[in-house]
């Protein structure tokens, strides 16, 4: 095992291979507060990539309800049970051990493999709140006592993938040009060591072709400078895909850097596993804070504080308006007055959107169609 630096843990950790960061690292920001669990992302992915025989159960993208929803069933409960609670010091450094550091003798990571039954209930727990609402219950302040929240999930295209570390055949690789993690469909022999090691359970075995498969980050689109299907199909415009700078580098014009490193409004999912996942979440403001700290680590309080100041933060507000505004990958952004602008890697303008949508109120009576309107705003 090598010593590598995991910036999310603020320390070095043990990993199967030497640190080898890609030239660019694909990354996402998902705003959980805007997700309405419509599963449009799930279907967009399903129809694009996993509609073949052997992929019936596969959802490379899924949306689950927290705390009682999961796909596969109980994956996060099992992970936490296996790893024990995360421990962080006051400086935000992980003091507990990662899946690699907890690896039993002779194993490369601490993991578990779910059988088909665990994959058979993709929508279990959907919209289940944390308890039963008694008569007279009402919600008057944040966080809510009665809550559930949505968690959209894809492969995290981790910097230190558990799947890649565990494959004894080196059939999983991380592309140097964009950090996308792929299973080599020629070399895979279906051992499912990857599916065992991935803490997020985002590698899935295809029983028709007897190989493991996973989210490919829509790499044919990424290679053309376009965002993945799950991102562009999102009707809630909760997602943005881009590239995150390596540790120690911050480009405030880069939308991902700005959200993750400057404003720190987006945080990684279960960072204590140690894989340095590259999907960053804006945590749900209404959910139980202790639960969120367990889920997103110590950065969650600051993230929610920053998010709640968005109304008075012109740049952040403008950037949020750029979510879902273009199919292209926005490499740089700027907010000029009431306009937010997205640029590609060459600085060419891709899109400009108003920071605040104009508030238009129509008359109740539509003279053109000689009828009354139900919806006038």
């Amino acid at each position: 095992m090598a010593d590598v630096f995991n910036w999310q843990l603020q320390r070095k950790m043990k990993y199967q291979y030497e640190e080898s960061r890609p030239q660019k690292q694909i990354a996402w920001v998902f705003d959980t507060n805007k997700c309405i669990d419509c599963q449009t992302c799930t279907i967009a992915c399903k129809q694009t990539w996993t509609w073949s025989t052997g992929q019936e159960y596969m959802l490379w993208n899924n949306v689950e309800t927290k705390p009682y929803g999961f796909f596969p069933m109980g994956w996060d409960v099992k992970l936490l049970e296996l790893m024990g609670g995360a421990k962080w010091d006051t400086a935000g450094q992980l003091t507990s051990e990662t899946i690699f550091e907890q690896a039993p003798a002779g194993e490369r990571a601490k993991g578990f493999l779910f059988d088909s039954e665990h994959w058979a209930h993709p929508n279990i727990g959907e919209d289940e709140p944390v308890g039963v609402a008694e008569k007279g219950t009402y919600v008057d302040k944040l966080p809510h006592k009665m809550w559930f929240s949505y968690l959209a999930r894809i492969c995290n295209h981790c910097t230190y993938p558990g799947c890649l570390a565990a494959c004894p055949r080196e059939a999983i690789y991380k592309r140097p040009e964009d950090g996308i993690v792929l299973v080599d469909q020629e070399r895979c022999r279906g051992y499912q060591e990857c599916a065992t090691a991935c803490p997020y359970k985002k590698v899935m075995y295809n029983p028709e072709d007897r190989v493991s498969q996973k989210c490919i980050a829509c790499y044919p689109k990424i290679e053309q400078g376009e965002q993945p299907q799950c991102v562009v199909s999102c009707i809630g415009r909760i997602r943005m895909a881009g590239y995150i700078s390596p540790p120690g580098v911050i480009d405030p014009k880069n939308p991902i850097d700005y959200m993750v490193k400057v404003k720190k409004v987006a945080v990684p999912l279960y960072p204590q596993a140690g894989t340095e996942p590259n999907v960053y979440y804006i945590p749900p403001v209404h959910a139980d804070r202790e639960y969120l700290r367990q889920m997103f680590g110590p950065g969650v309080d600051g993230a929610i504080d920053a998010y709640q100041k968005t109304k008075t933060d012109a740049d952040l507000l403008g950037l949020f308006m750029l979510f879902g505004s273009t199919e292209r990958i926005i490499r740089q952004f700027a907010v000029q007055g009431e306009t937010a602008i997205g640029y590609d890697e060459k600085g060419t303008e891709l899109v400009r959107v108003p920071v605040r949508e104009p508030n238009i109120v129509r008359d109740y009576f539509d003279r053109v169609h000689d009828s009354y309107l139900h919806n006038i705003t």
């Binding site: 025989t53 055949r169 895979c188 499912q192 029983p207």
Partner: protein, 312 residues
């Protein structure tokens, strides 16, 4: 184990470069695993002395066709068996902590053109499915490609490639009953639209990347329950470009009886050449699927000298 180069830095290669790419991969993988490998023979591994057993592994000359498709034939069971005490693989990660298949009973025959190895072992369950968290029983034999290079029993090394023939229970069922896929594993699975339901076979196949890539795992038109492979160290196992090995496995009375047969003169220099009148090293591996065994999670037996009887 730490490789010298991060595996993620290697890109998938276009078809034309596949051979060169594989060679490069094999070289890297073997270089990474060569360190720490200890040469070992059968010395120190006890051989059972039971009735009907022998401490000398001989491939007997048998004129005419070998009973490859009939592992229960008396021509096999009448031979004294060489009993291997299996060792849990604990040299590379992930390791096999316990021995789940303690011994194999090995016999061999050849007719001058083809050499067959008969392997028999006790297994409480017939595991012939490959599915989600479900693994299959299997066995394998390994030969040195060039004995002068003295390749390590640990799947060879960078200068000493090995020739491996693996039989799997799942492939046997593929041969006996047709490809075992979703329709067999999950008969109630429903898929409202599939590529093959929408378009001609050639077009639909493009939606199955492992098949397009020629991965032996995904072969739906399997010709043999045995796969020929080449390796130059742990992690380097690669399907051989030519497949000539045949075989047959039968599960009866809680025992597997498996025959693996291969041409004695390999179709090219990257395969073992087995000559009558000479001795050749052979190594064994066995997997118990219901114990979660696959890949490195296996039992092995290192090089045993096999005398190939003169004749033929």
């Amino acid at each position: 184990m730490t490789t010298e180069q991060h595996p993620g830095t290697e890109e998938q290669q276009p078809e034309a470069e596949a051979t060169a790419s594989r060679r490069k991969f094999l070289t890297q993988a073997a270089a990474a695993t060569a360190v720490g490998v200890v040469a070992a023979g059968t010395a120190g591994y006890a051989i059972s002395q039971q009735p009907g057993t022998t401490d000398k592994l001989v491939s007997h000359f048998h004129a005419g066709d070998l009973p490859i498709d009939d592992p229960l034939n008396k021509a096999w069971t009448g031979l004294d068996a060489f009993v291997t005490k299996m060792v849990a693989q604990n040299i590379t990660t992930p390791v096999q902590a316990t021995v789940e298949v303690p011994e194999l009973r090995v016999r061999s025959m050849h007719n001058g053109k083809q050499l067959a190895v008969h392997i028999e072992w006790a297994d409480a369950t017939m595991d012939d499915k490959e599915s989600i968290a479900v693994f299959r029983d299997a066995c394998a034999i390994q030969f040195e490609v060039d004995p002068a290079k003295a390749p390590s029993f640990t799947m060879g090394n960078v200068d000493g490639p090995v020739h491996i023939c693996q039989w799997r229970a799942s492939w046997q069922t593929d041969i006996d009953e047709g490809h075992q896929g979703v329709k067999n594993l999950f008969p109630n699975a429903y898929n409202d639209v599939t590529p093959e339901g929408l378009m001609p076979k050639d077009a639909a196949t493009k939606f199955y990347p492992a098949r397009v890539a020629g991965n032996h795992q995904a072969d739906h038109d399997r010709k043999s329950p045995v796969e020929e492979l080449t390796a130059i160290g742990f992690g380097s196992l690669t399907t051989h470009s030519t497949q000539d090995a045949v075989g047959k496995g039968i599960y009866k009375n809680r025992r597997w009886s498996v025959v693996i047969a291969l041409p004695m003169n390999g179709s090219d220099k990257t395969k073992a050449s087995l000559k009558p009148g000479e001795a050749r090293n052979i190594a064994f591996a066995v997997w118990n699927g219901s114990k979660g065994q696959r890949g490195a999670r296996k039992q092995y037996f290192p090089w045993a000298a096999m005398e190939v009887e003169a004749g033929g």
